[in-house]
């Protein structure tokens, strides 16, 4: 396959990327013990991107043979030429990098399991949840599998294949609260295909006791007091803080759009306890839920230290943004499907662990909140972020108190990181995680628990 790609890409005039790309997924959803979604999907195709006269042309078709490859390459070239003629910009060659090479195939080596194995897992888990947590209004179980296979050749000599799988099990429980239904969920699974997760049911069962207890207490919970509070963010929230609040502001395209991180390289932006990185491969400890070694422009991926001991160190680049910022491409150009062009995306982004224990952090708070699980999150150029919080507790005099209802936390990320006094000693990657920026894409995010101050929504 790579020989074929390399041969056809070699026929392109000027800069070109040629990619064969297949996303294979399966989703099974069980609600109230009924299966409401039970679908497998395989979407594959060829795409090419060419550069000419300061602009790009891109084309894709849902085919994988030589004719499809030749077609997309020709059309991408024609698109680049057509746009370039209209734009009449000065042509500047893109920055060159060492060509990314290698085969990174993380597909399972185990025997394939049938569809019935998925359904049996959900049916079994559904029954155990209902036995363990009586009185639930509803149980939702969602099993999501996604494997992304890419073969890439470029006119700069990149030649690589990767297959990155992820399997996620979402357990959502609903219970009647004092003034209406309350919901809580947990996300299990992680890197690898379904066949690699033979302990998934056991892990779900192990998590069940804590989840039910959190839900039961949330049903009797209170609204937090709206205001600026001391908080302990558990690793789930620290990961989303790293991704949403800091990572996005350091993507080079957003830096050029005026993000608060622009022009601050070398400045102190966080407590010196904070080191935050966007990592290649499977992350520093091999535990992230995605794998990326060569990006979709053919650049070898390297780790990027975004913040090192509180000082802003670097941005995330693709070739075009690196050209504008006169920087080196970092291997952050990623495309989700065969029909998407590569744009600047994060990979596995995390706050590095420190030396504090969770108990010490909670003990250091006189009045505040311990926030355990997040839902969605969003940030922008100013680094003002918000995350939905679906599970948390009051902290009173260093001890956990009443559970709180759903809320939203917000702050200006650099202020929040400046206010960090504790960084936990236990690193955890989120088991799922997608980023939405023009298109969805799987990302890894993680961190230890941290203690800081921020705004908490409430009554």
């Amino acid at each position: 396959m790579l020989d074929r790609l390399e041969r056809i890409a070699g026929a392109a005039g000027g800069y070109a990327e040629l990619r064969l790309h297949r996303n294979t997924s399966r989703v099974v959803v069980m609600r109230q013990s009924a299966v409401i979604e039970n679908r497998s999907t395989s979407l594959a195709g060829a795409s090419a991107r060419c550069h000419a006269l300061g602009t790009f042309g891109f084309a894709s078709v849902p085919g994988e043979d030589d004719a499809a490859l030749a077609h997309v390459l020709g059309e991408a070239r024609a698109n680049a030429d057509a746009l370039g003629r209209h734009a009449a910009y000065t042509d500047r060659p893109l920055p060159k990098t060492a060509p990314g090479t290698g085969v990174y195939d993380y597909r399972t080596r185990r025997a394939r399991l049938p569809a019935s194995a998925r359904l049996d897992l959900l049916k079994s888990l559904d029954a155990r949840i209902r036995a363990a947590c009586p009185g639930l209004l509803n149980v939702d179980l969602t099993l999501q599998e996604l494997t992304i296979e890419k073969a890439l050749a470029t006119t700069e000599g990149a030649r690589t294949f990767s297959a990155s799988p992820r399997t996620v099990l979402i357990v959502r429980l609903d219970m009647q609260g004092t003034d209406g239904p309350v919901t809580l969920y947990d996300v299990l699974g992680g890197f690898g295909e379904f066949e690699d997760h033979d302990a998934l049911l056991a892990r779900a069962e192990a998590a069940l006791g804590g989840l039910c207890e959190d839900l039961r207490r949330k049903a009797e919970g209170v609204f937090p007091a709206a205001g600026f509070h001391d908080v302990v963010l558990d690793s789930d929230l620290a990961g989303i803080l790293a991704h949403e609040a800091i990572g996005h502001t350091c993507e080079a395209d957003l830096v050029l759009a005026g993000s608060v991180a622009g022009g601050r390289i070398g400045q102190r932006v966080a407590s010196e306890k904070i080191t935050l990185t966007d990592q290649a491969g499977r992350g520093f400890d091999g535990g992230s839920t995605i794998a990326i070694h060569v990006d979709d422009e053919g650049t070898p991926c390297r780790d990027v230290a975004i913040i090192e001991r509180g000082v802003l160190k670097g941005y995330l680049n693709n070739k075009a943004m690196a050209q504008e910022l006169e920087a080196e491409p970092t291997g952050n150009a990623r495309a989700f499907t065969f029909a998407d062009e590569p744009i600047v995306r994060m990979r596995s982004t995390c706050i590095m662990p420190g030396a504090d224990t969770l108990a010490d952090m909670i003990g250091a708070v006189e009045r505040g909140y311990y926030l355990k699980r997040s839902s969605n999150g969003q940030a922008d150029l100013t680094s003002e972020f918000m995350f939905g919080v679906v599970c948390g507790y009051e902290i009173v005099n260093g001890r956990l108190g009443r559970a709180i209802r759903d809320t939203t936390i917000s702050g200006v990320a650099f202020d929040v990181l400046q206010a960090v006094t504790h960084v936990g000693d236990t690193m955890k990657w989120s088991n799922g995680g997608f980023c939405g920026k023009k298109t969805l894409i799987p990302v890894g995010m993680g961190g230890p628990a941290i203690k800081t101050k921020l705004n908490v929504g409430g009554r």
Binding site: V28, Q32, A34, V35, I36, N38, R39, S40, T41, S42, L43, A44, T55, F58, A59, S60, P62, G63, N79, A80, L83, H86, A87, Y89, P114, A115, L119, L137, N138, D140, D174, G180, P181, V182, T183, A226, G227, F228, D253, L254, A257, G258, V260, A339, S375, D380, L381, T382, M386, G388, V389, V390, D406, T407, T408, S410, N455, G457, G458, R459
Partner: protein
Amino acid sequence: MDESASAGLEAARGVARQACAAGADAAQAVHVRETQVEVCFDMKRLTLLRTTEHDTISLDVFKGGRKGAATIAGRGDALAAGVAEALAAAAAAPSDPAHALAEAPALAPRVHGPAAADRDAMIGRALAHIAGVAREFPAVVSRESYHRFLCSRRSFANSAGLTQQETCGRYGFFTMFSARRDGRSTSLNYAGATAYRLFDDLMEAGALRRLYGEAERSLDPRPAPGKFVGDVVIAPGALGDFLWSLAGALGGYALMSGTSPYKDSKGARVASPLFSLLNRPTAAAFPEGRGFDAYGVPTRDLDVIRDGVLQDFLVDHYVARKLGLAQTAGVQNFVVPPGAASEAEIVAGTERGILLTRFSGGSPGASLDFSGIAKNSFYVEDGRIRHPLSETMISGNLRDLLLAIRAVSRETVDTGSARLPTIAAGGVTIHGRG
């Protein structure tokens, strides 16, 4: 019917036949053929011309009350593998009599909008927009804008002989932007709209011109003063986000889970008499609408809330059978009818509160409690807009907010998927970081 249109229907019929021949009791398939042209640009330059083709078949198979599904791009071996996957998935699923084909009348094939893009005109509009923004809104910057033409043909067939087909060509525009001056930037905002016709001027898409102007007036934001309970004047973009949460609570799957706060409220007052929520899903009304749903059932208009009273739920074919209700839902394209007051009058009638242009918040849970940041928004006091906001959170309950609506604007914004006014309601907790 042209050759490719009949090929689409034959592809859908063929895979449904193939599934039945392989053992399914019944099957339905949707073949989707899409062609897209996209001109990407920022506020300084054109960046990318992108053309894509999609050709997929989504298959549902039914066997003994069990359902399995597969989506496949391709032909031949891929198709056969997809049929086998769907049948294996169905065989493993529990039996559920609610899984079945729908009975529906066949519509005549419909074609909406143009069949092909005018590429040169699209590039010209993008260049004109770059120049126009630089001239009229020099502080506005963007890195992610695209002017898109998408033509999709959906061909449906089931094993009972029902077929449907619809072709829709439309132009769209989306941009993400902020304002930047003297090293200061505003929050990001975004806007988009679709239409059957090429936009004469991209600046007129949706509420873009207004939003660009608001961005330039937001370079010196500060928090709302203190914490108080006040009014929110919700602009169409933010209203759309709240309506999606409301639609979830009024949807069949919330009824099925037993978590909808409205499950016993049909016929009851759930909103101010000033507020109605209409679902207008057909593609003739909206470029992003559809003429038939995933079961081949023609979509139809539904008054979900009329003058504040809940008329019906959004229930699809499966949930209708599961819960013994009438099917009502198609694709959700919401219209909130306009009111009598102008937006300016609504702001003038606001004693203390905020003009909420964008809501960035956690997804409301089943109880519809919400909290989040007021983005790209303004503080209002004594009927006047006082200053742009930063670090200001709002919280409340969506059910309470709907009942507290005190005004609906006569101006509306049409995005091609919804048509919404500005509304105003009280009782929301507002607090700026003090």
